[in-house]
């Protein structure tokens, strides 16, 4: 018998009003695996991620974390599940009223009750892991560049040494070099922690670098999944169109003809 998957989704659906965003998602992620979910804008990637994280409740279906059903947990029952998670938000979502080190130390102090002095040491060590000097810790997030904010957000996501880390468009808005730096940091942090990683992106360079396995979300369903090496011979017209970034193909963007 194969070991219990770290994350297991069965028939997950979610609609907003009349708009059916997820139409039955089945997905298994093994422990220590890094899966990348690719798909166009508005394909429901973020909604899928938020359902797994528990920030949104799916309309139906099952979401199991380490074999435990979490789809219908209340906020207070969810706290021990959340403890396993780390999340890197697309815009960083750093708390702008707190200094950088307080952002990184937020989880350890507020949720794990760590003493502030010790948490500051942990925070500075984590900042070091993402290549930031201790002095950066005294600044406020608004004083940092976009790439540095992403690094701080990454440090915050790994500060509690989570078992599962989620990455929401980690390279969006960064120049190609900084994007590659972030990709390498993600690969390093995930392997150092021995964590499971779930990323969503539309950046194929990033997907190839950080993923072991790729799944493509289209029209509310996962239409293809396989090892990242196989992505160029998927024999799937949708995947081919997406990874080569062609306007022509089976995927129709909803734009009016000029």
């Amino acid at each position: 018998m194969s070991p219990t998957p770290k994350i297991s989704l069965r028939g997950v659906t979610k609609a907003f009003g009349d708009k059916q965003v997820l139409r039955g998602i089945d997905l298994d992620v093994a422990a220590r695996e890094s899966i990348v979910i690719i798909g166009g804008s508005g394909s429901g990637k973020s909604v899928l991620l938020k359902c797994i994280l528990g920030l949104m409740e799916p309309d139906s279906g099952s979401i199991k974390i380490d074999g435990e059903e979490t789809a219908k947990l209340s906020d207070s029952e969810r706290e021990h599940v959340m403890r396993k998670f780390g999340m890197l938000f697309q815009g960083g979502a750093l708390f702008d009223s707190l200094r950088v080190w307080q952002n990184v130390a937020f989880g350890p102090i507020q949720s794990d009750g760590m003493a502030p002095d010790k948490a500051k040491e942990v925070a500075i060590a984590k900042l070091g892991n993402v290549g930031l000097a201790p002095e950066i810790g005294e600044l406020f997030p608004s004083e940092l560049s976009g790439g540095m904010q992403k690094r701080v957000a990454l440090a915050r996501a790994i500060a509690r040494e989570p078992e599962i880390i989620f990455f929401d468009e980690p390279t969006t808005g960064l120049d190609p070099i900084m994007a590659d730096v972030i990709n390498e940091l993600i690969v390093k942090c995930v392997s150092d922690l021995g964590a499971t990683a779930v990323s969503i992106t539309h950046d194929m360079a990033s997907a190839r670098k950080i993923g072991h396995r790729v799944a493509m979300l289209y029209d509310g369903k996962l239409i293809w999944q396989g090892p990242v090496e196989d992505i160029d011979r998927s024999n799937n017209a949708h995947v081919d169109q997406f990874i080569h970034g062609r306007a022509e193909g089976p995927i129709r963007m909803q734009v009016k003809k000029l």
């Binding site: 938020k50 906020d75 959340m82 999340m87 815009g91 708390f95 937020f106 507020q110």
Partner: protein, 259 residues
């Protein structure tokens, strides 16, 4: 094609009821969290400073000019039937029962309610509230509960200060412009003042503090979209808090009137 007026009225009623329901559920959830540990003491203190200390200048100015105007206006009225000696009492009763809490409440609604809606609304649209959840921190406990507690505790203190400053304003006008004897003015102020005058004003202040912070948090927390959504939330927070203050003011006054 026209939509029948009954349909429009029906829709508006339904929307209003839905909002009242949502606000009540929000308030219930928030109040429940205020009595549950953990208590974020630093957050409560920060909000108390924001609501109380930093509102002192604007509330103090409002109070002193209100007290001064009251003394002048009541002189105009009372001098017509030689009842000038009632002026100190009129000033202090109007201030403690009515104008202190209401004016301070409205000023704080504009200052603090708006700031809260903008801050929490920005946290919502930049995913900071989601980030709190992923760090196993309940946003109701961390963001909403400290603000409600600070509002309920701080506004009565602020109103007490406003009452004193307002009476001083009346005193200044009474003594230096209307030629009252300073001792007589003070005696008339204190002798006829009843505990209930001050107490009912402070009860109002606590309720207003709750309403202001609740509206600030609710509209911020539920804001949608980007900068525009936060702008709408801010406006709604101030307008709804002001209306609720004036409405609640009548009902609290009536409740104390019956006693």
């Amino acid at each position: 094609m026209t939509i029948p007026i009954v349909t429009v009225l029906g829709r508006m009623t339904l929307a209003l009821l839905a909002t009242i329901g949502a606000v009540t559920a929000f308030a219930g959830r928030a109040l429940h969290r205020t009595v549950q540990p953990p208590y974020y003491r630093r957050q409560i203190l920060r909000q108390m400073l924001e609501i109380g200390y930093y509102s002192l200048p604007v509330v103090g100015l409002t109070a002193i000019f209100t007290g001064m105007v009251l003394a002048l206006q009541s002189y105009t009225g009372f001098a017509r039937f030689s009842a000038e000696s009632a002026i100190p009492n009129v000033v202090v009763v109007s201030l403690t029962r009515e104008l202190g809490p209401v004016l301070a409440g409205l000023m704080v609604a504009g200052r603090v309610g708006a700031a809260m809606a903008a801050e929490i609304g920005t946290m919502r649209v930049t995913e900071q509230i989601d980030a709190l959840k992923t760090l196993s921190t309940d946003p109701f406990k961390y963001l909403v509960a400290p603000r409600l507690i600070a509002g309920i505790v701080t506004l009565p203190i602020l109103v007490l200060v406003a009452d004193i400053i307002g009476v001083m304003g009346g005193f200044l006008v009474g003594v230096y412009k209307l030629d009252f004897n300073d001792t007589t003015y003070l005696r008339n102020t204190i002798d006829f003042l009843q505990f209930q005058d001050v107490f009912s004003g402070l009860v109002k202040a606590a309720v207003f503090g709750f309403l202001i912070t609740l509206m600030g948090c609710y509209h911020g927390y539920t804001s949608k979209g980007g900068a525009q959504g936060v702008g709408i939330a801010t406006t709604n927070a101030v307008v709804s808090a002001s209306i609720l203050i004036l409405t609640a003011n009548y009902f609290i006054t009536e409740a104390f009137f019956a006693l």
